[in-house]
């Protein structure tokens, strides 16, 4: 993946830049020694690394604004960073950029159960937002699988999803307001504890803009009362087609499960060997979870099981206890780890129309043969968000490149059948050069025009989302 050449003029300004940053931040909040900047050289897309010019860890909106004003004034690119868990390289620096990390900003600012919202600083982790309200039986719904580590700032930048968004929606559907600092240091309040925008829906376009429009320092998030209970059911099928049809029939039937997870045979076998969850050895496996009181769960599951039975499952396992529920989820939750035991893997994130599931899985299988690389599929089937895991050997020359080419072909296939390149991870650098497969030049131009308005000098996270060639003139200023 190509990154822009660092600007020597910016590199030369480092001493002056560090000095100015130290004037507005505590000494320990400006990291500039080469040994220390290495800690910020990559995010969870570890194949790509580059230490930044320096990193700053502000503690308040005021400090963030001060940092941005300095960088704006000196023409230094800024890469915002939450917890650095992006799988798409969203927080990958360039050598001439400043990493702006919000990790020290993790306070809860306001909790309001009467109006069902929480206001936090965005360095707070996803899980600890729920942690702040769960003693009162409330929770924050979006639950990306990195939720223990990932920050709300990154969730907003990537519009993160999770396993339960079939019912509760993704970040953008649960975000009520933000404090946004634009590149020139202007602090904006957008939205709040009320619903929907007054003027243009700026909140809607900021969420998912991958840190390219501004730095979100505070967020107002919708919280909900926890359901009374939840229970999964496991279903095994002897073909992907039948499993896919079963998914369609369930969501058509008027029960809305909170999650429908899908695993294919390679993934089932890997997790079985790794975690021993007792999964059946079959072609496709579904985990469907519903919520409510015991009686409500039974009412929903009766309907779901009836649909499942009409598709001749090879296995149908209803949980009758918390222990059995945990066992059903065990394999799914260990899937990534299990695949990692076998080899290095690359996790994709394309979305397809649910109806295309069997076709896409068959094509992925064929391509796996052609590329000579194994692939396992585990994903959120209810909303068509796939996560093919391609296995490769990072130590074998050429394997990463082959894996990337295979991944790109899968994502092009997703677009071809009416889907998209990324459902919840974001474009970052990982899918940047594939944007031309989904968008016509003018479709990208109008998106870049939005960045022109928020960040006219193109200093915020500039080498992401849009192919370098497409954004070249704008980045050159």
């Amino acid at each position: 993946m190509e990154m822009p050449k660092p600007d020597p003029q910016v590199m030369a300004k480092k001493p002056q830049l560090v000095k100015r940053l130290q004037e507005v931040l505590p000494t320990d909040a400006v990291i500039h020694e080469e040994a220390e900047t290495r800690a910020y050289e990559c995010d969870a897309l570890t194949a790509y690394r580059c230490p930044p010019l320096c990193a700053v860890l502000p503690s308040s909106t005021v400090e963030v604004a001060a940092v941005l004003r300095i960088c704006h004034d000196m023409g230094v690119p800024v890469v915002p960073r939450g917890s650095g868990t992006s799988l798409a390289g969203g927080a990958l620096p360039t050598a001439d950029s400043v990493i702006l990390g919000v990790a020290r900003m993790n306070a809860v600012l306001e909790t309001d159960y009467e109006n069902r919202f929480i206001r936090v600083q965005t360095g707070r982790t996803n899980l600890s937002v729920t942690g702040a309200v769960e003693q009162d039986d409330f929770f924050y719904a979006p639950d990306p699988s990195s939720q223990l580590a990932c920050a709300i700032a990154g969730n907003i930048a990537m519009n993160s999803g999770g396993a339960h968004c079939l019912k509760y929606g993704v970040t953008t559907n649960n975000l009520l307001g933000v404090t946004l600092v634009t590149m020139d240091g202007t602090v904006l309040e957008i939205g709040g504890a009320h619903l929907d925008a007054g003027g243009l829906d700026l909140l809607g376009v900021i969420c998912g803009s991958e840190g390219q429009l501004g730095v979100v320092t505070e967020a107002t998030l919708r919280i909900l009362h926890k359901p009374e209970g939840a229970r999964p059911v496991l279903m095994g099928f002897d073909s992907n087609e039948v499993a896919g049809q079963c998914v369609s029939d369930i969501i058509k039937a008027g029960v809305l499960p909170v999650a429908i997870e899908f695993m294919d045979r390679p993934c089932i076998r890997a997790t079985e060997a790794f975690a021993g969850a007792g999964y059946p050895d079959c072609e496709a496996l579904l985990i469907v979870e519903v919520e409510g009181s015991d009686a409500e769960i039974k009412e929903q599951l009766d309907l779901i099981l009836e649909i499942a039975r009409s598709h001749n499952p090879v296995e149908l396992r209803e949980s009758t206890s918390a222990e059995e529920s945990a066992k059903i989820w065990l394999g799914r939750k260990s899937a990534f780890g299990a695949m990692g035991q076998i080899n290095d893997y690359m996790c994709l994130d394309g979305t397809i129309p649910v109806s295309q599931l069997p076709y896409v899985l068959r094509r992925i299988g064929e391509m796996s043969q052609e590329y000579g690389l194994g692939v396992g599929n585990v994903f959120h089937a209810g909303d068509g968000n796939m996560h093919p895991l391609i296995l490769f050997n990072a130590n074998k020359p050429g394997d990463l490149e082959r894996c990337e080419a295979f991944g790109a072909d899968i994502l092009r296939l997703c677009v071809e059948v009416g889907g998209c390149l990324t459902g919840e991870h974001g474009v970052g650098i990982e899918k940047r050069d594939l944007m031309v497969d989904q968008f016509a030049p003018e479709d990208m131009d109008i998106q870049m025009a939005v960045k022109d308005v928020f960040d006219p000098k193109w200093l915020l996270n500039p080498a992401k989302v849009f192919p370098l060639e497409v954004s070249r003139l704008r980045r050159a200023g």
Binding site: E114, N115, D137, M158, N159, C165, L166, V170, T172, N173, L188, E189, I190, G192, H194, L195, D196, A197, G198, G199, L200, D201, L202, G204, V205, C207, G208, S209, P227, D249, I251, K252, G254, L256, G292, A295, E296, T351, I352, P353, V354, S355, D383, N385, T422, G423, E424, H425, V427, K431, Q438, A440, D443, I446, Q447, A449, V450, K451, D452, V453
Partner: protein, 380 residues
């Protein structure tokens, strides 16, 4: 002008030499009056794709909302955000279209549970002010590829582009619905009950309070939808927590919500109508403060208290200064939904924005519509 294809529309916009007034069915006469040639979108009509098993519907922007609802109902589905029909309230005739609904981000009582029109909108095709054919989003439920201009287009009132095609996530119509109703509560007590219901685990899909005099005696109502057994269970649980609430079901329940959705108590009654979005517990506070300041009004509180429909005397500025003064204190926004042309010229229809936000809006309009020909001035 009445284009019948997207290409024809693009050519018309590109060739336009003056302002255009974009019109779906012409039923939502909201916003500052626009002088310009009417661009009638009814020619771009028809459902393009309905895939019930994928919960997806794609249709051209000029398609009547009623046609889409009928197509969905045939498969037991619906638009989940319960879009309001403005005709009764505004005294308009015509056929509401999908494009108009999206342009105004029209949502109803269920917004408090599932989300607004913008939350269920998956993709758009539109023509920008330069006549370019553009697309954003798509037809799948999870999509973070590039910037989300889908939400930006929803609620932009045709000032950023002319919608040609829209895609939605749709949902099944639940088996059953029931509503808990109480009468005679004060605004504060009514909204407190709504808050208790919305803060419960029982997945409330509607929470409204019609203030005293809005539709006779004050009425507080909470809706539950789902499988029949589940509805019965949750209604019983809520009744135990909310003493004094009776239960109505089926068509009787549905009628109560249509009344709120379409703001029927203010239909045909003289006066201007405002729509306010505030923090829910501020709803009754705001209404009381306005009364104390001498602004006589009737109020309907939806969305747990956070969406307030205010019926005021249309004389003078129709309460604009007082209402906007309250907004400045409490946060939120106020839109003049019903007022004659003179009033809509005299007072800002949409909430004026702080200068830095207004600058962003102006900047975006200049990019999407460089010549300023799409519904110019409608949003102020």
């Amino acid at each position: 002008m009445r284009p019948e294809t997207e290409a024809e529309l693009a050519a018309m916009v590109a060739g336009a030499n003056g302002p255009l007034r974009v019109q779906g069915g012409g039923t939502r006469t909201i916003g500052a009056p626009v002088t310009g040639q009417v661009l009638d979108m009814s020619g771009l009509s028809g459902v393009v794709l309905h895939e019930p098993g994928a919960l997806t519907l794609v249709a051209q922007a000029g398609t009547p909302v009623a046609e889409v609802e009928a197509v969905l109902a045939d498969e037991g589905q619906r638009l989940p955000f319960e879009p309001m029909d403005h005709r009764a309230l505004l005294g308009t005739v015509g056929t509401p279209t999908l494009g108009g609904m999206v342009a105004a981000n029209v949502s109803g009582p269920r917004r408090v549970q599932g989300g607004a029109c913008r939350d269920f909108l998956l993709g758009v095709r539109f023509i920008d002010g330069a006549g370019r054919v553009l697309k954003n989003g798509g037809r799948v439920m999870k999509n973070v590829t590039g910037y989300d201009l889908v939400k930006l287009m929803a609620g932009s009132w045709g000032t950023l582009g002319v919608l040609t095609e829209v895609s939605f996530k749709v949902l099944a119509i639940p088996q059953a619905e029931a509503t808990l109703v109480a009468r005679g509560r004060s605004d504060a007590d009514g909204v407190a009950a709504l808050s208790a219901a919305l803060g419960s685990p029982f997945d409330v899909s509607g929470a409204a309070h019609l203030g005293d005099g809005a539709a006779g005696a004050a009425r507080t109502q909470v809706r539950i939808e789902g499988l029949a057994g589940s509805v019965a269970y949750r209604v019983a649980q809520l009744q135990a927590r909310l003493p004094g609430f009776d239960v109505v079901e089926g068509a009787e329940s549905a009628a109560l919500w249509q009344e709120v959705r379409d703001v029927l108590p203010f239909a045909g009654v003289p006066g201007a109508v405002w729509r306010l979005s505030v923090k829910p517990s501020d709803g009754p506070v705001l209404s009381a403060a306005l009364k104390a300041q001498g602004l006589d009004h009737k109020a309907i509180f939806d969305w747990g208290g956070g969406l307030i429909w205010l019926l005021v005397d249309a004389a003078g500025d129709a309460g604009a200064a007082l209402i906007r003064g309250q907004m400045a204190t409490l946060g939120g926004h106020a839109t003049l939904i019903r007022g004659n042309e003179a009033l809509r010229r005299a007072v800002p229809v949409f909430q004026p924005e702080p200068a830095p936000l207004a600058a962003l809006s102006v900047g975006l309009r200049a990019k999407f519509d460089p010549r300023g020909i799409l519904n110019p001035g409608l949003m102020g």
